[in-house]
Amino acid sequence: MESETVAIVDYGMGNLRSVQNAIEHLGGKSVIVASPLELSAYDKIILPGVGAFGQAISCLHQTGLAEALHERRAKGAHILGICLGMQLMCSSSEEEGMHEGLNWFAARVKRFLPNTGLSVPHMGWNGVEFARPDPVLAGLSSGSDAYFVHSYHVHSDEPTDVLASTDYGLRFCSMIQRGNVRGIQFHPEKSQEFGLAIIRNYLEMSC
């Protein structure tokens, strides 16, 4: 497959390798990028992440990567946030205090309510219901299962930004999109064929 090299943002958190493995498996190319300066060369950028929101957002600011990401977004780069990466794109998070996010989506990151009889974190395979078509969902069926691991979920204040939703005690936003920016709450790199197809669609998008 002919596709552009994808920059995977390294800000000290998360399993970057599995995202890299998935891209490589699909015949794409990726590089791990930790410096804001280097990031400016890429039009496809994946913001992965596992861990705590507060620590992640301060890492992004301290390293200058937040500013570089804002700049790339403004220049039309296709940015894909995965898991915590999606949450970082929201306006705020209530994870261990209140934190401001990158504010690309009018959306808030909230904790799953305890005492609903459901385990937190929400961990395992759950259905992804598409709200509307999108190039990254091309050829895929709504309702397919994807692998989730998270204790906080995204609540979008802009219903049209919601690309897909998932039911876990409540219906939450599991994919979000506005312009050239997308966020995915589940781990496409760990969601077998379904997830790999999403990544392939992303790799094939033209910039």
């Binding site: 861990g51 974190p121 395992g124 395979w125 299962d145 998270h150 077998q192 064929e193």
Partner: protein
């Protein structure tokens, strides 16, 4: 709705996949763990757990290398464990491509390590593995260090302690049931599922697929199989089909075809 998970466990000794019978590992099933993993990856399994049961501490390096080789082909979550006694090795396994750390003996020997790892990587990353062994009177105890010593505490109390330390999941195994083909230790699993809110993975003793349904009915969020998955082609797919036909909500696979 969240699906019940079907997990394949690979037991590794010196880099080879071995059969486990009451924690003795004499028969080699696969000489190459990557081949075993590739089959499972194709056959509808929802997650892979890979455990290094070698008694030789020097096996750690080779194990990390295997994780690295395996993870390139693994597009379901991969949990790895064995000899995790420090942050450096934990980090090495994660950097090699593991998504979760399976921790057993350190729960007793270095509980603070477990908490530090949970703080650093999140509880979802920490799977507390507990091996139950019944004493002469049939009372369950917790066995550590590949079954070589026991702690006199009930499985449910141990599970609660693990969750307090930061475990996001419990991998339950029974030394008496391991390789004994009589199904899971349902009694212990039920008590643990009642005691903790985190997902419990039932493991140890599956011979017939109906054992999987028993594990789910006992309250488990996931059912794991090691030996039995290696003996027949498409075994994980057959197990999935059995679960689905028994009314268990499982992930269906195969609607999507990715050409690569």
């Amino acid at each position: 709705m969240l699906k019940k998970r079907l997990i394949a466990v690979l037991i590794l000794r010196d880099g080879q996949v071995v059969q486990s019978v009451r924690f003795k590992h004499t028969n080699v099933i696969h000489y190459d763990a990557v081949h075993a993993m590739e089959a499972f990856n194709k056959w509808a399994v929802d997650e892979i757990v890979i455990l290094n049961v070698s008694r030789d501490v020097a096996s750690r390096d080779k194990f990390a290398e295997i994780i690295e080789r395996i993870s390139c082909h693994c597009f379901v979550p991969l949990a790895a464990g064995g000899w995790i006694d420090g942050e450096d090795y934990a980090q090495r396994l994660l950097r090699s491509g593991a998504d979760k750390l399976v921790i057993n003996t350190s729960l007793a020997d270095d509980p603070e390590l477990v908490s530090r790892l949970a703080m650093r990587y999140g509880r979802q990353c920490i799977v507390a593995s507990m091996d139950v062994k019944r004493d002469a009177s049939g009372l369950p105890q917790i066995a550590l260090d590949r079954g070589s010593r026991v702690v006199d505490i009930t499985p449910e109390a141990w599970a609660c302690k693990a969750v307090e330390l930061g475990a996001g999941e419990i991998l339950f195994n029974s030394i008496d049931h391991d390789g004994a083909r009589k199904g899971y230790d349902i009694e212990s699993i039920q008590k643990i599922c009642e005691a903790v809110e985190v997902p419990v993975i039932a493991f140890g003793g599956v011979f017939s697929w109906s054992h999987l349904v028993e594990g789910i009915n006992a309250g488990s969020a996931a059912v794991a199989v090691a030996n039995q998955f290696h003996y027949t082609e498409q075994s994980t797919r057959k197990a999935k089909t059995y679960l689905a036909e028994a009314g268990v909500l499982v992930r269906q696979q195969g609607q999507i075809h990715v050409s690569v």
